[in-house]
Symmetry: C2
Subunit: 108 residues, 2 copies
DNA sequence: GTAACATTTAACCATATGGTTGAATATGAA
DNA sequence: TTCATATTCAACCATATGGTTAAATGTTAC
């Protein structure tokens, strides 16, 4: 359970940075090499390499060697834990709409 | 759009701390005074006060004065933006199951 | 007004984070 | 082997974070 908590720490902390969120979005569409990603931001190669290490540690992305390149893609279970965490709160703001639906349907 | 990004930064960063997640859980059930929350953790009053400021800035909780106490509750739209952010990825891991469903149903 | 309670603010500390540059490593090409 | 390419690692820097204690600020009760 502590491990699950740690995992959530890492996932949410990963998501708190705009560059990392942007990387996730890109690699969710297709594989990118580290260099390809670097081109898209105005920070150094090393900075992106660090961001990728953070994402990897949180298991949000996976890296695969291909020759001298490293290909990055969204990890299979990426973001699922975060979503499951939010699940518990989802009904809190959806509940309101359900009640509204009920009220509207009462007219029938 | 930059503002939305900043908001996400703050929300996810808020969620990356276990104490703050725990506070959210508590105040989602009912209102708590700051002091009541402090009792539940082994850190100082000031530390909890800081955590609450972080949560307030991210608009995840709301504080209301009641005499000399400050009552804390989950903010109305709390966590909704985070959930909407994850929405875009949800189909990526749900899609797989939909496809599996289709395959299974093809036997009919 | 003074005391007691509830909370915040200030000053400080250690560690983490996000960035840099430059050297080191690994792979493929010549 | 040597060169070029792709990436990481190391050292460093500034700022942020999460914690502390102690003083300051409301707010109610006497």
């Amino acid at each position: 359970m502590v491990e699950y908590e740690l995992r959530l720490d890492m996932i949410f902390s990963s998501l708190s940075d705009p560059i990392r969120r942007d990387i996730l979005q890109r690699v969710s569409a297709r594989e990118f090499s580290v260099g390809e990603l670097v081109e898209r931001y105005e920070v150094s190669f090393a900075a992106i390499s660090k961001h990728l290490k953070v994402l990897e540690k949180a298991k949000l992305v996976h890296k695969r060697k291909e020759g001298k390149k490293q290909m990055v893609r969204l990890a299979p279970d990426a973001l699922r834990s975060a979503d499951e965490y939010l699940e518990q709160y989802r009904q809190m703001w959806q509940g309101r709409y359900d009640k509204l639906d009920m009220l509207l349907n009462e007219r029938d």
